[in-house]
């Protein structure tokens, strides 16, 4: 029911969604988040990005986040795919797809997983900008995004 993959190659969001739908015909909702590499960050044009991770720990961290989501909501299937290696603008970085019988749980589950992935899963981004190479700094807004989940459920 859970698919967690770290990979260099691109993914096909449509195929992943279709697979989740076919896995269980009692699920009426699929919510899907795709994170995309932007061509700008902190006001500078970005031409390339290198994504590094901690093999083993990353998969475990993602698995735990998904399980935490399952404790909070009635979720069907969950797919998390995160790319690593070299990426260009408009490349898809991450996919989180969640099915549920009804849409509210699918929306909450999907947003919860991506919010926690952003601050708990060991990935690091280094970007090449017009100002040279630099490691991406963590975002205050990502830390703030976690807070909403303590209030709910």
């Amino acid at each position: 029911m859970d698919t967690i993959r770290i990979q260099q190659q691109p993914f096909d969001a449509g195929a992943e969604i279709r697979q989740l739908i076919e896995a269980d015909p009692s699920m009426g909702a699929v919510v899907n988040f795709v994170g995309v590499m932007r061509n700008m960050n902190e006001g500078d044009a970005v031409s390339e990005m290198m994504l590094e991770h901690y093999p083993g720990m990353t998969e475990n961290a993602l698995q735990k986040i998904v399980e935490e989501g399952r404790e909070r909501w009635q979720l069907g299937s969950v797919t998390v795919i995160h790319r690593v290696g070299k990426l260009q603008p408009s490349d898809e970085i991450v996919l989180v797809a969640v099915t549920a019988a009804h849409r509210g749980e699918a929306f909450d589950g999907c947003e919860f997983i991506i919010d926690f992935l952003k601050t708990r899963a060991p990935f690091w981004k280094k970007e090449t900008t017009t100002q040279g190479e630099r490691w991406v700094e963590e975002r205050e807004s990502d830390i703030a995004a976690l807070k909403q989940w303590n209030r709910q459920v």
């Binding site: 720990m57 060991p122 280094k126 490691w135």
Partner: protein
């Protein structure tokens, strides 16, 4: 012996990706290990007793600095994560 892994800007700055070190005392904590590493030179001091936020995983689980280390542990040091 323990395995130490360095990631992202720490790996780059220190020029080390992975190393094996012996525990210096039987009940060494993560904080004690970090203090030892800080003695290795300026780059090390900057990371391990500077203003950097250092996250530590022992056997791939995030831990606090007062966690004790055991022979055979894998210790990962890394900055705040920025995936997704």
């Amino acid at each position: 012996m323990i395995d130490i892994l360095y990631f992202a800007r720490f790996r780059e700055r220190l020029g080390v990706e992975r190393e094996q070190v012996a525990l210096s005392t039987p009940q060494q904590t993560v904080a004690m290990l970090m203090a030892e590493l800080a003695e290795r030179g300026d780059n090390w001091a900057d990371i391990f007793k500077g203003t950097h936020q250092v996250l530590v995983a022992v056997n791939q689980e995030i831990v606090k600095p007062d966690s004790e280390l055991n022979d055979g542990d894998e210790v990962g040091f890394f900055p705040p994560v920025t995936g997704g």
